[in-house]
């Protein structure tokens, strides 16, 4: 069982995990969202769960964070919307989505029918919109939790404008917690000076978990056309280029905040995922890596299992925060 990024995915090992990892408990509790394994599909990279049908199925991963939903349908940003950069990908999709009603009516029942664990990612222009959508999801069967998108860098209003201000994060989390019993997990933006302050604001407002990180604001320029590549000028950077930054931020937040973390940013193999867990993430999110290798999430699940078995560990939670414990004895692994 390889856990490293030898190739685009340790493909040869897919399927070996069940044998190698027999007796390993992969279940984690992400602030009340119970996951069969700690690997989650990141919002915006897995559509509404069935785009990759035939290649990877939504019920085989820990959870699916669906593409960000808004109260009303959105057309999204002007193309070009993506640009590849060294070891990374810039995107400026602009929250194109069919609106929350269409999501609940058309997409959610299918995911529910498959038994997928669904985390709804919602984005509002106003605090009231977040609360309104949370209310609508409260009565929609099949939602395991809500991820608050307070970090989209590609929209004019809302999005990241909320996510760079602790008071706004506090208000949104509070407003949503007031109207729902579902677990609430804000997704934090890395485009801040102090991400710990954002996480603390979320915790004080009653968040059940923290998701991090969203993309890093960036840009690319076409030197022949002498203009920005992206139609929206700026876009969010993802992929392995951002992994060290994401890992550092997860580590910082895990030390400072007593909430489970869904951590990710540039995960390309099981080894990356284990790094995030050792930095303090209870679960990991796979995003851009799926574009490169659609089976990556399954290979990461198998790779984590193999790693645990190879190190004679029986519970995936035993690695959560392992790297922090070595440097700070006051940190306690969070086990439910």
């Amino acid at each position: 069982m390889h856990v490293g990024c030898a190739h685009m995915g340790a493909g040869a090992d897919a399927g070996a995990g069940a044998g190698a990892g027999a007796g390993v408990d992969l279940r984690v509790d992400l602030g009340g969202i119970e996951l069969a394994n700690p690997v989650v599909m990141a919002s915006g990279t897995f559509g509404y769960g069935f785009e990759y049908e035939g290649l990877i199925e939504p019920e085989t991963v820990g959870a699916v964070c669906v593409k960000g939903i808004t109260l009303l349908p959105r057309a999204g940003n002007r193309p070009p919307r993506i640009a590849e950069t060294p070891c990374g990908l810039l995107n400026s999709i602009g929250l194109e989505n069919p609106g929350i009603e269409a999501f609940v009516r058309e997409h959610l029942p299918r995911l529910r029918g498959r038994g997928a664990t669904v985390i709804a990612n919602i984005a509002g222009d106003t605090i009231e919109e977040y609360a309104r959508m949370a209310e609508m999801l409260e009565t929609a069967p099949g939602i395991a939790g809500i991820e608050l998108n307070v970090s989209c860098p590609n929209v004019g209003r809302g999005g990241m404008h909320f996510g760079v201000d602790p008071a706004s994060i506090h208000s949104i989390v509070r407003a949503v917690k007031d109207v729902t019993s579902l677990p609430v997990m804000p997704k934090l933006s890395p485009n801040v000076t102090d991400i710990v302050a954002m996480a603390k604001a979320a915790q004080e407002a009653g968040a059940d978990a923290i998701s991090m990180i969203n993309t890093l604001l960036g840009m690319a320029i076409d030197i022949e056309a002498r203009r920005p590549v992206l139609g929206n000028v700026f876009g969010g950077l993802s992929g392995p280029a951002v992994k060290p930054v994401a890992l550092r931020m997860v580590y910082q937040v895990a030390k400072a905040v007593d909430l489970p973390i869904l951590g990710g940013g540039g995960i390309m193999c099981a080894r990356d995922a284990i790094e995030f867990m050792m930095a303090g993430a209870t679960a990991v999110s796979i995003g851009t890596g799926t574009f490169v290798n659609p089976r990556l999430a399954i290979e990461v699940i198998d790779g984590i299992q193999g790693y645990l078995a190879g190190h004679h560990l029986t519970d995936v939670r035993s690695v959560v925060g392992a790297a922090i414990m070595q440097t700070d004895s006051s940190f306690r692994a969070r086990e439910s």
Partner: protein, 350 residues
């Protein structure tokens, strides 16, 4: 439904300056591919000592998967090569034979890092190929008298995904009996049209191909494969910018200068692929003559399956309505004439 296959490179020929034709053994994809669909290829070869398994036919969860002999855990993590380029690269299927060779062919030009790396791949190497992807060309109904003719594609092909597109309707019955399709390709845009031409000819259609290449060298591989189909009902007219092969000029000149060849009054459908200004000219021609048709678009892609919405192209919407976008990878790459707002200038790729 798309699949992942570890495809073996059977043949990789340089067919012109910076131009390559690659044939890949990919039985599952070859048997499922339809003209106009594409494959998404990871341009770095799969290490030969670690062949990548295909996705199992039946989805299995990681916990349900049957136990296999556990491998020794390698104590040292494998070396990590630079994940560069990160994304796969999309290529139109330029020919597929699911019944005989179980192979697909792609035709491509070196444009950037991805295609440069692909050009270094050798016969015998293995590539990670995902496909077939996207919505292909709408194939008109075969003429009744030819319907019994064998259609090798349809034997092993799974049921096609539901496509909301209306079937192409000929604007009127053809004078000569068999439906007549005009295919207009510019540069590497000929790639999907070769597969389409051969399929249409096999189905009993009359096919005329207008093919504009930049140079004579560029033209050879496509012409060879059009002629090799043996269908006999494909008529090809060519132009090159340098005038060395075919008529000198651009391919859309043929629309007006070859009226006898086009027999425009006799064309039932038009299909086009190439630079967008060229396709816009073909679209205008089709509109003027009230001939239905389709075009295949090219754009940068990330996921290739409609998940990321990165490849959006704006649709021609009703006046006053806001922008509406379609996904080239999933709603396309083939669109009906009049559906998509085309770029006035060639768009940069890669």
């Amino acid at each position: 439904m798309p699949c992942l296959e570890t495809a073996t490179v059977l043949r990789h020929d340089c067919v012109g300056p910076g131009l390559y034709e690659m044939e890949l053994s990919a039985p599952q994809i070859a048997s499922a591919a339809a003209p106009g669909q594409f494959v998404h290829i990871h341009v770095r070869p799969v290490p030969s000592d670690r062949p990548r398994p295909s996705v199992p036919d039946q989805p299995t969860s990681s916990t349900q998967r049957s136990a296999q002999p556990s491998r020794r855990l390698s104590p040292e993590p494998s070396p990590q090569p630079l994940p560069q380029p990160l994304l796969r690269r999309p290529f139109s299927v330029s020919d597929a034979d699911g019944s005989i060779g179980a192979s697909i062919t792609i035709l491509y030009g070196v444009r950037g890092t991805g295609t440069q790396l692909l050009a270094n791949v050798r016969p015998g190497d293995h590539l990670d190929v995902m496909g077939p992807l996207g919505r292909g060309f709408t194939l008109p109904e075969p003429p009744p008298q030819r319907r019994p003719q064998s259609q090798p594609q349809s034997q092993s092909r799974p049921a096609p995904e539901p496509e909301p597109e209306p079937e192409l309707q000929p604007r009127r019955p053809s004078a000569a009996g068999s439906p007549h399709a005009l295919l207009v390709g510019g540069g590497l845009g000929i790639a999907p049209l070769v597969f389409l031409a051969n399929t249409l000819a096999r189905n009993g259609h009359r096919v005329t191909v207008f093919y504009g290449a930049n140079t004579a060298g560029e033209m050879q591989s496509a012409l060879r494969r059009l002629q090799a189909s043996g269908a006999g009902s494909i008529q090809v007219f060519t132009t090159t910018l340098d005038g060395i092969a075919g008529r000198a000029g651009i391919v859309t000149d043929l629309l007006t200068t070859e009226p006898s060849a086009t027999a425009v009054g006799d064309v039932d459908y038009i299909y086009t692929c190439g630079p967008e200004p060229m396709m816009a000219a073909v679209e205008r021609f089709a509109a003027a003559h009230r001939i239905p048709g389709e075009m295949s678009l090219e754009t940068a892609l990330a996921c290739g399956v409609g998940a990321c919405l990165g490849c959006a192209r704006r649709l021609r919407a009703n006046p006053g309505a806001g922008p509406v976008y379609a996904r080239v990878c999933k709603d396309g790459p083939v669109f009906s004439f009049g559906q998509v707002e085309l770029n006035p200038a060639p768009c940069g790729e890669e």
